[in-house]
Amino acid sequence: MLVGGLLMVAAACLTIYNLHEDSVAASASSKVLQSLVEERNKNMTSAADSDLPTGISGEIDEENTIDPDTPMPTILVDGTAYIGTILIPALGLELPVADDWDYTQMKISPCRYSGSAYRGDMVVCAHNYTSHFGPIRHLQPGDEVIFVDALGREFHYKVEKVETLGPFGVHEMVASEWELSLFTCTLGGKARVTVRCSRTQE
């Protein structure tokens, strides 16, 4: 009986821990988002006056066409490089996207897993916190997803399908024909909910 009670207490503690982690992640990403958007707006303003924005790596394309092989420009926030923000209106989510992924960074924001928005093969991963990609499993075909890069250029996508890949589906994840893929763990943690999107003309 005592052991059973202890296990139930452990379950309660883990639940509290998860909720706390979720709330910390929400606050961290919102802080980064604010700085990122401010910095991006500042750079866009200065870019309108001069040639290259300060504090930003990359080039402004004067002809509004992007070389697919151009590395995605980044903005540094607290020493971490971010390639832009992702907006999912159907879920009321707007999140910063880090340039590269690791487990520490995923506690703060979604991260680019592979590819490039310019090349049309970007894959973004995030934790399944309710404030991050947890709700993406509810997305429906036709829902809009917008990625805004560090130079303020918008890339509009629509959800084509939501599928589940296995934990070893790296090849399926990155070598697909989809122009944008978002993924996170299922609640069980074993598989990956993957949202496949195609680019639209705004």
Binding site: M1, Y17, Y103, T104, Q105, F183, T184
Partner: protein, 332 residues
């Protein structure tokens, strides 16, 4: 019977605890710490100032200010290329490109510790230190950290040494690569920096065979070589071998749109002779790729909640029922 039942409970509980602890430890975030060891034949060097720059993402894409440089990253598994790249990036960093993410002085053990490092490729640069009459100059190094790297990483600093009363000399040599010579300028300007200040400026051209030598330089200073105005369409790489700076401009057709950058500096490592001490190269060169064959674990630990709760509930009920049964038996 009752004794066996209790024993089984303990075993089940232990297994569940073990499973939970392993799951928790797996899911723990992978923040890395780095210990730089500046230890020479004569002992540890205290007070050397080490700077850590995050210069690239793990896939070799240059970060932040470094991304604006006309530097060719090249093959990150080639140790010779890595050494030149580290030297070149350290030169830019010395010239004011990028901000170090952390800065530490080596302690009495010659150690400088950095913590909370995330995945990326880092540049480590250090100032020289003195033991007796000998100056020890750490060589810059690149270090790749991925989530697969050990949590705690030790790096033994490579270094060169010279006597503090010694005068040093440097030669700079210009090399052109992969070009048709039609785009090649008639001359380039190279600067010698003394502790980041311009000490001398020379023009290299075919008339001086694209080389120049500086003599009688004080060993007490840090010397950098700088290529001013990198020609359009070229990348730059500066390598230091013994006391010869080789400034290589590589023609690259893909960089037609890039503009001329101001200055490139070269990490000096003011050396007259290489150290005889052999030091393990940093892990940079040995780790490959940031991706694994498994997609990242992006889930919170919700499933153990169910396991714990259901197991707990079951055990609680079993305990409750068995207690009731034993109470009834005792009454009878």
């Amino acid at each position: 019977m009752k004794h066996h039942f209790s024993k089984s409970l303990i075993v089940i509980f232990s297994i569940i605890c073990l499973l939970c602890s392993s799951v928790v430890s797996f899911a723990k975030s992978q923040a890395h710490s780095l210990k730089i060891k500046f230890i020479t034949d004569a002992g540890p060097v205290e007070g050397a100032n080490f700077k850590l720059y995050q210069v690239m993402s793990t896939d070799g894409t240059l970060y932040g200010d470094f991304a604006d440089l006309q530097v060719e990253v090249g093959d990150l598994t080639d140790s010779e290329n890595l050494s030149s790249l580290a030297s070149t990036l350290a030169s830019y960093a010395a010239g004011g490109t990028g901000e170090p993410i952390a800065e530490k002085k080596s302690d009495a053990l010659g150690h400088a510790d950095f913590s909370n490092l995330t995945s990326g490729i880092y540049l480590v640069t250090g100032s020289s230190g003195k033991i007796g009459n000998t100056i020890y100059i750490p060589k810059p190094a690149l270090l790749r950290i991925t989530e697969l790297s050990d949590e705690s990483i030790d790096v033994n600093v490579k270094y060169t040494m010279l006597s503090d009363i010694q005068k040093v000399s440097y030669t700079v040599k210009k090399v052109w690569e992969n070009d048709e010579s039609t785009a090649r300028p008639d001359s380039v300007t190279v600067q010698l920096l003394q502790d980041s200040e311009v000490y001398d400026e020379v023009t290299l051209s075919s008339s001086n065979d694209w080389t120049h030598k500086w003599d009688d330089l004080s060993a007490d200073h840090k010397w950098n070589v700088v290529e001013k105005d990198i020609p359009t369409g070229y990348t730059v790489m500066v390598a230091l071998d013994e006391n010869i700076f080789t400034v290589t401009n590589h023609w690259t057709t893909s960089s037609e749109t890039t503009e001329t950058t101001d200055i490139t500096t070269t990490e000096p490592s003011t050396t007259t002779e290489p150290s005889t001490t052999t030091i393990t190269p940093p892990p940079t060169t040995t780790i490959t790729g940031s991706k694994t064959d498994k997609l990242p674990q992006t889930g919170q630990l919700w499933y153990p909640v169910c396991i714990l709760f259901i197991s707990g509930l079951l055990l609680f009920l079993i305990g409750f029922v068995s207690k009731r049964l034993s109470d009834d038996n005792e009454k009878e």
